[in-house]
Point group: C2
Chain length 356, copies 2
């Protein structure tokens, strides 16, 4: 449950939920429904969901991929909504990964100034992160997620069975966002993840359900405390300022978002250790876990320190002209700060990753 | 003041406010500002505002007119915001009529998931209606205002001196929205409007300030009670379901919105009288006032009853398949209802306006 007063909503997590007719009946009721998905997810799960729903209208199948997360694609969803004459009290369903969820959520946010939608995430990163919290939007040619809205879903239904068809690298990228919750908010969860990584890598359903559930619970608590990111919600961006610089510097699509976040978290942790905020051995614990998960732990050598700094300065999270960073204070705690030595950051980027 | 908790905002009304440097300093502070306006309003008031503001960035001047209230035009504003690298805590100013306010407000709502904006309305209809209440949006080829957001302005600054340059027909169209407030919520204000119409037609500044102020106060109270139009806010749509049918039936741009609302209000009042909800002499008071203001009081004869009914059934305010109408219950009170005899409505449309 994400407790947001009148806009509170439930998060259902489990294997086989796409086939759970009673649950869908409860979520949909007698409303008309437009399913928005992409052409990859549609091949796996669209028929299953439409069968469970019964008589849905012709779904809106978008081209897959971040390159299509544009205003023009949102426009396609609005065209379908208008063609189908969906009313204010009807329902949109976002079936897919983060890109589908962001576009469809944004389309729902702005159609007739906001209609209900369900997040039905089918990737790990969407199940533990993007489907929860109501951030929706599309990219602008000059910046990611620059056009969007806060619009909470009416419910999240995460069928962890769908992760079986996810490419292995996509799955591992999602693990980065899971360990993030341990770092910023829950040392016990971090320790659990250390002992259960192998089970997660094998997609053990019980371990997966616990990891997704705990991740969603931590995110829900943070979102409930700061829905519109005026404060604490920024902690969810641990590793993202470094990570976005990597993604932009390499050109989007070269590294997965979760991979860039993995590297960014270690960079943030290393910087925190340099500032005396975190013990070196905790940096190593984080780094070791990510290595075991098959994820990168530093920006690629081809990105020069100066270029990374320049890209970080252009980040959306810069406020009042000052670069702000989320830095871990040990495991289980983090703070946002703009009060640090820019030169020290530069030195770290020049010196590169510490030896393991 | 529109009381909406943390999103409460003030409404300043007066002559010469565009030159009131202290007020603008207070509203803007040290933030960077992008002014959005159209190419007609820019000719009259852009220099005045930029002088008052001091160093503003290059404004975004849109082509004037409802035909440009599109997603593509909102895209132009986002391009300017991105080019100028405005940050989340910077400010947008909507200088102009309802179209500019709706587009610019929508652009502010979605830029980085919402930045502050000021409504600076320069038409009567914008000053008494569209600038207050946070409804923003653009048209879709298949429907008006179908893509949009609720996004309250940070403040409304209405310089009634700008109305001097408004075409007379535009000014009169705005009067329709003013008398609407009397009908739905304030019999005393209605009576005041009956005795002060000549002063308003002459743009007597004191009378105008009172009429705009009272209209905004009524709208603010209704919006505060029901920001997202789940109930009472729908009363503001008195005359609009008939009115939209007229606008769409004639083709947009043939009648002004306020003209269609004027006719729609009389039609709603006439229907209310037929249902026994309103005394016939109160319908006549409303009709006489609108005639004195130079406004139409019934749909044009060229629109057939069947066509009007068909267009009304397609209105956005139809919920759960049932047509809902706002009907006055005398002067100073109105209710929304879906519980009326469709055949009686058809008969009224066929019979046409009552003799005066």
């Amino acid at each position: 449950m994400v407790p947001l007063g009148a806009r509170s909503y439930s998060i259902a997590i489990g294997a086989g939920l796409l086939n759970d007719g009673a649950r869908w009946q409860e979520a949909v009721g007698s409303r008309r429904v437009l399913i928005v998905t992409d052409d990859i997810v549609a091949g796996y799960y669209l028929d299953r969901l439409t069968e469970t729903l019964g008589d849905a209208i012709e779904p809106c199948v978008l081209p897959a991929g971040e390159a299509h997360k544009t205003l023009a694609t949102a426009g396609r969803v609005w065209n379908r909504l208008m063609d189908a004459r969906l009313a204010r009290d009807d329902l949109l369903i976002a079936l897919g990964g983060g890109v589908v969820g962001d576009i469809a959520g944004f389309a729902a946010a702005c159609y007739q100034r906001g209609i209900d939608y369900l997040q039905v995430p089918t990737t790990l990163i969407a199940q533990v992160d993007s489907a929860v919290g109501g951030k929706t939007g599309v990219n602008h040619p000059l910046g990611k997620n620059m056009i969007g809205a806060f619009h909470q879903p009416a419910a999240v239904i995460a069928d962890i069975g769908t992760l079986a068809t996810l490419p292995a690298a996509e799955y591992r990228a999602g693990l980065a966002e899971i360990i993030k919750y341990g770092v910023i908010a829950d040392a016990e969860f971090f320790a659990w993840l250390e002992t259960h990584l192998d089970a997660l890598l094998e997609q053990d359903q019980a371990a997966l359900a616990h990891a997704v559930g705990r991740s969603c619970a931590i995110k829900a608590a943070i979102v409930a405390a700061d829905e519109h990111e005026h404060g604490r919600r920024a902690l969810l961006n641990l590793g993202h300022t470094f990570g976005h610089a990597i993604e932009t510097g390499l050109g989007h699509g070269h590294w997965r978002h979760g991979e860039a976040v993995a590297a960014g978290m270690v960079m943030a942790a290393d910087f925190a250790a340099r500032l005396g905020l975190m013990e070196r051995r905790d940096v190593t614990r984080l780094r070791d876990w990510l290595i075991r998960a098959g994820l990168p732990t530093w920006a690629p050598a081809e990105l020069q320190a100066e270029r990374i700094l320049e890209l970080m300065a252009g980040d959306k999270k810069v406020r009042g002209g000052r670069l702000r960073l989320v830095l871990p204070h040990g495991i289980g705690n983090a703070e946002t700060t703009a009060d640090f030595d820019r030169d020290a950051l530069g030195r770290m980027l020049i010196e590169g990753p510490p030896d393991a």
